[in-house]
């Protein structure tokens, strides 16, 4: 499936191509004719006078499909909206969807296929850290561009990746500060699933609790992914009586964890629990009644009350049904295509090097989460919100931080 479309040459007179000021001024009504393919695509990407091809690489099947579906939908929604507005540099976005099938070698294979065979201008995709780690060398080798939506552990910064979710410190520090102040908390119990993201997050949380808040970590436990028996853990919690339970349990384990807590009488009424791993998507599986009163720390909640978000939620529900819910990662997925569009238009080119060079400093005032700005380290400045769970599986937003600078390699936390 090699495309030879990029060989179609544009008219020769391209006088206007190098006037950046003009491009920005007219950025709402960009015409493809102003941007001949030969000038906006010097690296042989799959771009014609009327279309630009991008890839989408998530798990549509396998164990991760349930989590990644939200990102797939949000990215597709953003692309539809951009196309309805006239596309990017006057070109309609054409998507090649690929299924990573929850299998990391498959992710690497498909990433290579998208970059080498399909010559896509960018890829929106991946969800788990493992899948990102698997495709990263491919993107770096083939000089592709990936928009990655999930909040993750940090400790990474690639010139070929734009991270639209939070790195760990953005999600952890402000939340701990808030809970320590609000609840005068001194003792913390850290609980997580056993892989790199919860482990790194717990490490950062511990350092912050011990060094900055003067508190104490009274317990730290990790469980294999898919673990469902939390009886002994609950006994330990009852014994240690921590002021705060800090939970980083992911996936299916979440459901048993919160149900068993409730069955053991540990509820939002008598216990402070804050988690960085439960979004509206997980709440759907856990059930709002098992979460009532507990807190989540995220940059986005579906219930955010601002004009951008109301429009986003409305459009999302119109496309995917009234019952669909939107979690943090889904919103971060939605940002990807918009950030890419902004970067391409600022660069006046689809070339990956020019797009990444134009990315730092980009602002998005239309983001559902409010306002975001791209840092030179390829992560987003973002706010942190604390939400308290209600029975309907939505949160009441109690706190909103100032914009937090992304810092994937935090000093003093490693």
């Amino acid at each position: 499936m090699t495309t030879s479309q990029q060989k179609m040459f544009a008219p020769l007179h391209t006088l206007r191509r190098a006037i950046p000021g003009l491009m920005l001024a007219t950025s709402l009504s960009l015409q493809a004719a102003d941007y001949p393919t030969a000038s906006v695509n010097t690296t042989g990407l799959s771009i014609t006078e009327t279309t630009v091809t991008v890839g989408q690489l998530h798990s549509a099947t396998g164990t991760m499909a349930i989590s990644e579906t939200g990102s797939i939908q949000a990215e597709q929604l953003a692309i539809d909206q951009i196309n309805a507005m006239g596309g990017v540099l006057g070109r309609q976005i054409k998507v090649i969807p690929e299924d990573g099938a929850s299998d990391w070698p498959t992710f690497a294979e498909k990433a290579k296929k998208l970059l080498v065979n399909d010559k896509v201008a960018t890829v929106f995709g991946c969800w788990t850290s493992a899948s990102r780690k698997a495709v990263l060398p491919v993107f770096e080798k083939e000089n592709g561009l990936l928009y990655y939506p999930t909040f993750y552990e940090g400790l990474e910064q690639s010139k070929n990746v734009i991270y639209t979710g939070q790195e760990a410190t953005q999600q952890i520090l402000a939340g701990l500060d808030w809970i320590a102040k609000e609840k005068s908390a001194k003792t913390f119990y850290l609980i997580g699933s056993d892989y790199i993201w919860p482990r790194t997050s717990a490490k950062i949380a511990r350092k912050h609790i011990e060094n900055k808040l003067g508190g104490k970590v009274v317990g730290e436990e990790f469980y294999a992914l898919g673990h469902t028996q939390f009886g002994s853990l609950i006994n330990k919690i009852k014994l240690k009586k921590p002021d705060v339970i800090y939970a980083i349990i992911v996936g299916g384990s979440n459901v048993s964890f919160y149900k068993q807590l409730k069955a053991a009488g540990i509820t939002g009424e008598n216990t402070t629990l804050i988690t960085i791993s439960v979004t509206e998507d997980e709440a759907l599986g856990i059930g709002g009644e098992n979460l009532v009163g507990f807190y989540s720390a995220m940059k986005y909640f579906q219930s955010l009350d601002n004009a951008n978000n109301l429009a986003f939620v409305k459009a999302f529900k119109a496309k995917y049904g009234e019952k669909s819910v939107i979690g943090d990662v889904t919103q971060a997925g939605y940002l990807g295509p918009w950030l890419w569009k902004a970067a391409v238009e600022k660069a006046g080119s689809f070339d990956v090097d020019k797009v990444t060079a134009a990315s730092p400093g980009l602002e998005l005032t239309t983001a559902p989460e409010g306002y975001v700005k791209l840092h030179p380290n390829h992560h987003l400045w973002s706010k942190l919100r604390i939400g308290q769970w209600k029975t309907d599986g939505q949160v009441k937003v109690l706190y909103e931080s100032a914009l937090i600078e992304p810092d994937p390699f935090p000093k003093g936390y490693q």
């Binding site: 549509a60 690497a108 065979n117 780690k133 698997a134 990263l136 790199i196 490490k203 992914l225």
Partner: protein, 389 residues
């Protein structure tokens, strides 16, 4: 008495199979595919190493293992450890708090390289480990199982448990193994960039040549006494035992050999794909590898290669063209093969060649008087359908 030539190449029939495979792998595919697709074929062929091991184990000796992914993975990890150490020189890891150790160790607050990683600085050691580590584990499991005469379904279940245990053990010790993410971002082998096109060609041809070499070696082995005993064991284990042969010793040997072959496949996989993770060690890949073998035909060494190629090509093409439907199509393919062609692709081939040769034989005999006496004597043990699971 068969000559060495006959034993290695399997006579005229075997020579044709070999020529066809060599033609496809060494000429047709490299000439018709771009490097991206060829690299994928190279990846599929690494599964064929597990496949030929399974033919030996399951088809010939009647021992079904649902844990071959473990040995594939261990071979892969041995190679990945060497490559990761080569990629983690102090200069390229200088932003870490402890430069010179693999990045995931640094993230897990390890301050020094664990002792069991040390020998993997040496390429000869790592290469030997690719064979020895899987074989050793198989030897231990095999000794424990076969000496106690555990077989059939029980053995299959135990190997599956082993697959789960090993993948969980790798997953749970992320400071030492890279955990769920696995060992990623492997760049060079002895200074040569393994991600370059040229290296991918070299690795592809290396894989082909090794695979063909392994097949010839196994043909030689199976054409001797070993092959007869394995088949006899499969069909009437007790009679072999009563004849004075140590059945368990043969089984342990075959199991270890299949494991070592899987290890080679794993190492070549890592070189071509550039990473390894516990998802390649667990139950699902182990069962998938059995499916490749079933599709190819569990009695045929060549069939295992075609099975791995066919299933994985199907997987890639179906999932590229029908992202929503591809799993159903794969399921359909498996069911169709098992129902219609119980001996897999190799069975179809066998049927065809049998029919044509019978047809030729019939024509030659036609002038003679004896009309419809089916002369179907040869039926070597090989072509008989196995009754074992």
């Amino acid at each position: 008495m068969k000559t060495l030539f006959d034993r290695v190449f399997g006579g005229k029939h075997g020579l044709t199979s070999l020529a066809v495979l060599a033609l496809i792998l060494l000429a047709i595919l490299p000439l018709s595919l771009d490097i991206f697709r060829l690299n994928l074929v190279g990846k599929y062929l690494t599964y064929a190493f597990v496949g030929v091991g399974l033919v030996l184990l399951w088809g010939k000796a009647g021992v079904l293992s649902l844990g071959q992914g473990v040995f594939f993975g261990l071979g892969g990890y041995c190679m990945a450890m060497f490559l990761k150490l080569e990629a983690s020189d102090p200069i390229s890891t200088k932003i870490q708090s402890t430069p010179g150790i693999p990045d995931f160790m640094d993230w897990n607050q390890l301050k020094a390289l664990p002792a069991f990683w040390e020998p993997f600085h040496s390429f000869p050691f790592a290469s030997a480990a690719v064979l020895v580590v899987p074989a050793l584990l198989a030897f231990v499991i095999g000794l424990a199982m076969f000496k106690r005469r555990v077989g059939g379904v029980y053995f299959a279940v135990i190997t599956q448990a082993v697959a789960l245990i090993v993948s969980l053990a790798i997953d749970g010790n992320q400071g030492y193994t890279g955990g769920r993410n696995g060992i990623t971002d492997l760049r060079t082998l002895l200074g040569h960039d393994i991600r370059s096109q040229q290296a991918q060609y070299v690795l592809y041809f290396t894989t082909c040549v090794l695979l063909i070499g392994v097949i010839l070696l196994l043909q030689w082995m199976l054409s001797g006494k070993m092959g007869k005993i394995l088949l006899a064991m499969r069909d009437r284990e007790d009679r072999v035992r009563f004849s004075g042969y140590d059945v368990s010793a043969y089984k342990v040997f075959i199991f270890s050999l299949a494991a070592a072959l899987s290890g080679i496949g794993g190492a070549l996989f890592v070189l071509q794909v550039g990473f390894i993770s516990p998802s390649l060690v667990g139950i699902v890949p182990s069962i998938e590898m059995v499916i490749f073998t079933a599709v190819g035909g569990k009695l045929s060494l060549y069939g295992a290669v075609y099975g791995a190629l066919l299933v994985n090509t199907g997987k890639s093409l179906f999932s590229e063209n029908f992202p929503q439907l591809w799993l159903f199509m794969m399921g359909g393919l498996f069911i169709a093969v098992v129902v219609l062609f119980p001996n897999g692709v190799a069975g179809i081939w066998q049927n065809l060649t049998d029919k044509t040769s019978r047809w030729f034989a019939a024509r030659r005999k036609a002038p003679a008087t004896a009309p419809a006496v089916e002369v179907n004597v040869p039926v070597s043990l090989e072509t008989e359908t196995s009754k074992t699971p």
